[in-house]
Symmetry: C2
């Protein structure tokens, strides 16, 4: 099969980690007989520098014509002082909306070999952790009406959700739960917010179509506590854009190795954008020090969710695990007794283990 992939290397360590991910993808193509075609496009700081726009139209067009998008990382202090609509984040929000990427999947996965990296006690975290946060990504307060009063003395934002939006994100969560631990935890603030009450009602409606999946509910404040107290109680978590922003980051930090965590942002159908959960780390850019594993694992998610290539996805995940089990580490996940390697080297190792 042929697959067209739009590639956005972006800023900071983006280009080097994307290089390693494509190396791995090419090897998968070789082994399993697929052809991956890449079209490189601009977004983020580099797009601001070259075109004055954090998300040029051409980038959107190329993405829309592709089967999936791979993104490295965008942003950096260089562009932090620009006005809001010209900042790399504006490009990120716009690409989500333009491509209809309503379902953000953020696994918080702790590998056995890295379990000491967790800030949680061994008796709390156990041998591993495997939570999948499903965050709504194109609605809520991120995209609601906002503004200031005429006198400039107050400002507002609107959290708004429709049944349709809640329905579709909830279904994504239930479908994923069926392929995992059959447990969905819905997180809202229904004791205060009207939008959360509609959210809760809709989740309960959708749940009727998934009688085989267990559904729990937590208020967002309690969820933030439970994630620290007993993270192993979670399998799939579904929540709003804003709560998901907070809780998915909290959950990923429980693993202690954010350099390992991929993410997928899915549209209706099979289209999706895949990127590591970490940032652009400008301080180590171009020094062959970055950890490309989150990007490599993002490619595995692409194979699974956009191309239905489960075996190929698993092969990458197993290879990454082998690299870790054999003691290879980039600087960010290094611990005594391990073998310190660079970005390129660990990419090569994943290819070798495939």
């Amino acid at each position: 099969m042929n697959y067209n992939i739009a590639v956005i290397p972006g800023d900071g360590i983006g280009p080097e980690i994307v290089d390693e991910a494509l190396k791995v993808l090419n090897k998968i193509g070789e082994i399993y007989g697929h052809e991956f075609k890449y079209t490189e496009v601009l977004a983020g700081g580099i797009a601001i520098d070259e075109t004055g726009n954090p998300l040029p139209n051409e980038t959107v067009d190329v993405c829309k014509k592709s089967d999936a998008v791979l993104l490295g990382a965008v942003g950096g202090p260089k562009w932090d002082t620009l006005p809001g609509h010209l900042r790399p984040e504006a490009g990120l929000l716009k690409i989500r909306k333009e491509l209809g990427l309503f379902a953000n999947l953020r696994p918080a996965l702790l590998y056995k070999a890295l379990k000491d990296a967790s800030p949680l006690k061994p008796e709390v975290i156990g041998d591993s952790l495997d939570i999948c946060v499903v965050r709504e990504l194109t609605g809520g307060i991120y995209f609601g009406e906002r503004g200031r009063s005429e006198d400039g003395q107050s400002a507002y934002d609107t959290e708004s959700y429709s049944v349709k939006e809640i329905d579709r994100i909830t279904r994504v969560a239930f479908e994923i739960a069926r392929k995992r631990g059959n447990l969905v935890t819905n997180i809202d603030k229904m004791n205060v917010l009207e939008s959360s009450r509609l959210w809760r009602e809709t989740v309960l409606e959708v749940a009727k179509d998934y009688p085989d999946v267990t559904l729990n509910h937590l208020l967002v404040d309690n969820a933030a506590m439970q994630l620290v107290r007993d993270p192993k109680q979670f399998d799939v978590v579904v929540t709003t854009n804003m709560f998901g922003d907070i809780l998915s980051d909290q959950a990923s930090m429980l693993t202690g190795s954010i350099g390992m965590l991929p993410s997928a942002s899915l549209a209706e159908g099979k289209f999706g954008l895949y990127e590591p959960s970490h940032g652009s780390a400008p301080d180590i850019a171009g020094q062959n020090k970055a950890n490309p594993l989150a990007t490599i694992l993002s490619v595995a998610m692409m194979l699974r969710y956009s191309f239905d290539l489960e075996n190929e996805a698993k092969a990458i995940e197993t290879a990454v695990e082998s690299v870790l089990d054999n003691g290879y580490r980039t600087g960010d996940i290094y611990s005594e007794g391990c073998k310190l390697v660079g970005c390129k080297e660990i990419g090569d190792l994943v290819v070798d283990y495939l």
Copy 2:
């Protein structure tokens, strides 16, 4: 001096923990020569049962005429199926608004004697933890306009803040920081929300009046990560009602002993409402098993913030610490080798150590 205190025992373990707190307060009165006068009033589930209203007008009136309010806990499964405006939470939100309790102080304090209770590793949490979260409590999305569309297919809530609201909560945070570690961390989501951009601008304005206090800023998603990764970087945290709800609960769970954590909700001037951070624990109500220390420590906060009795506040805090150091524990904080005591007994012990 004479002090008038409105007392709301509330539901579940509320009455028994309040009893112990008043016992301690009476002893303080004896030792230091103050007179505390109590007026008991209804709120929460018991108020619903007896008056049909989670917050009767009489309660508001009595509170307004008092110098401070002590609250045990409200709510319980018995009232969870009532319509929203009749639930105990509705009473809680109304009392905050009616009494103008705009500044919620939620210390996340880990006592040396209880440091093993933290779910975080010893090398992350250290010997103790002392964060004071200052949460805005009468504004934001909790009190903004909300509703549903006519066809019922969507619902919205409004996050709204004025310069005046932001200014006054920020000043509370800076004033507290001056009495502690001289560090304020402001938490917002200014890369997305307009209200957060006004929040950030206003915090920066206020900071000019406190050149002696260090000010940091974190985006809320990063804050949720940093609290897990390195909670010791925080001293005073200031944030919105919604973010504060989430982050103060997350921070308190880092201590692993939420039964120990007091809170204060302050109005302009000296008036305040004081309550433990934990809930009403209906499962152990009336069995002399509850931990009254959070309520006792809330009384210490009352002495400090509403009555300016710093020595008396410290005396209570020191007595509580001595009780712990001498190995006495209620069930919720019990660990092997300690002496298990009941609610009344640990209250008596605090009185003894005063």
